[in-house]
Symmetry: C2
Subunit: 187 residues, 2 copies
């Protein structure tokens, strides 16, 4: 399979960006190719198009599967493995957020929880623990919020985003109408 100049630019860009997103060039390019192809591709097709060795494609796909960004599909009458990304771009977004959270946030949250259980036995530890408590509070708040948002339908989330800063006005109304914080009471 041969790439059009348009497709090639897209693929090369994702290869470059890969490193900023925690994956290597190969993985970035493979994902980009699958994303714009509009149909499932098999490992050989990918390797041929991007000029990667068969093994390299295999490793890349395995990584994308670990990210839940591509899934394995089978075409009737063909025993090869084919791969495709989630159809809906919102699904991709959600998965990406979940995975990044799992990899980048959760380990730190665990560490902080443990560290905050200990009794500080010096002034330095006292200060350090205070700082950790601040960080912990922020992470709890934002991940808790993310949990809640994920329970909303994509349509609601879209509406919310379109509302933008006007949400402040809505909030002021909420105050009057006694919509409180997450405990349901007033602030």
């Amino acid at each position: 399979m041969n790439l059009t100049p348009l497709a090639e630019r897209f693929v090369l860009h994702f290869g470059e960006m890969g490193s900023r997103w925690g994956v290597n060039r190969t993985v970035g390019q493979i994902y980009a190719l699958l994303y714009i192809s509009g149909k499932p591709l098999c490992a050989d097709e990918i390797g041929e198009t991007l000029a990667f060795s068969r093994s390299n494609v295999g490793i890349g796909i395995k990584e994308l599967q670990a990210w839940r960004l591509v899934k394995l599909v089978h075409l009737p009458g063909d025993r090869r493995d084919f791969f495709e990304p989630p159809k809906d771009v919102w699904d991709i977004f959600r998965v990406l957020m979940e995975e990044r959270r799992r990899r980048e946030i959760e380990p730190t949250l665990s560490m902080l929880r443990e560290a905050l259980l200990e009794r500080p036995d010096s002034e330095a530890d006292q200060i350090a623990q205070d700082r950790m408590r601040e960080m912990h509070g922020l992470i709890e708040l934002t991940t808790g919020w993310l949990d809640e948002v994920q329970r909303l339908s994509p349509e609601t989330v879209i509406r919310l985003m379109q509302l933008g800063a006007k949400v402040q006005k809505v909030l002021e109304f909420a105050d009057k109408l006694k919509f409180g914080g997450r405990d349901g009471g007033e602030a």
Copy 2:
């Protein structure tokens, strides 16, 4: 300067996590150390505490400055450069979001904008461009929302987060009261 076991765990953890956040071990550890120290540190102190060469500390600090995660300060009667992170953890959060957006999102947005201006001259390009349009729409929506949210006070953002999924109820009210989308009209 010597680390307590508590502080050491924190520092080592951030060293490990660094790679997942797009910085190396050195940078992660330096930042962690500055974060929990509660006072500005100079390069020598950092290098001595973490057992890094003086140059390595210099490079690491430069990178943290590029991220706007530490700032240079001077202590009276001392000509050495001292460094400290923003005091407020919400500032750190905001800067982190801004920088990640600038590095991870903006380049892709530019590329998509350009690619979408072109006239597709094959069915494959047509499909590819459709996919790019989807991605572009999602990014525009979310970054536009982020822009708006940044205009709110931290207190408002905190309240919003604490509201969580209950925001849906508020939105339903907003509907009745004719709070519309970002254009101010009704949906």
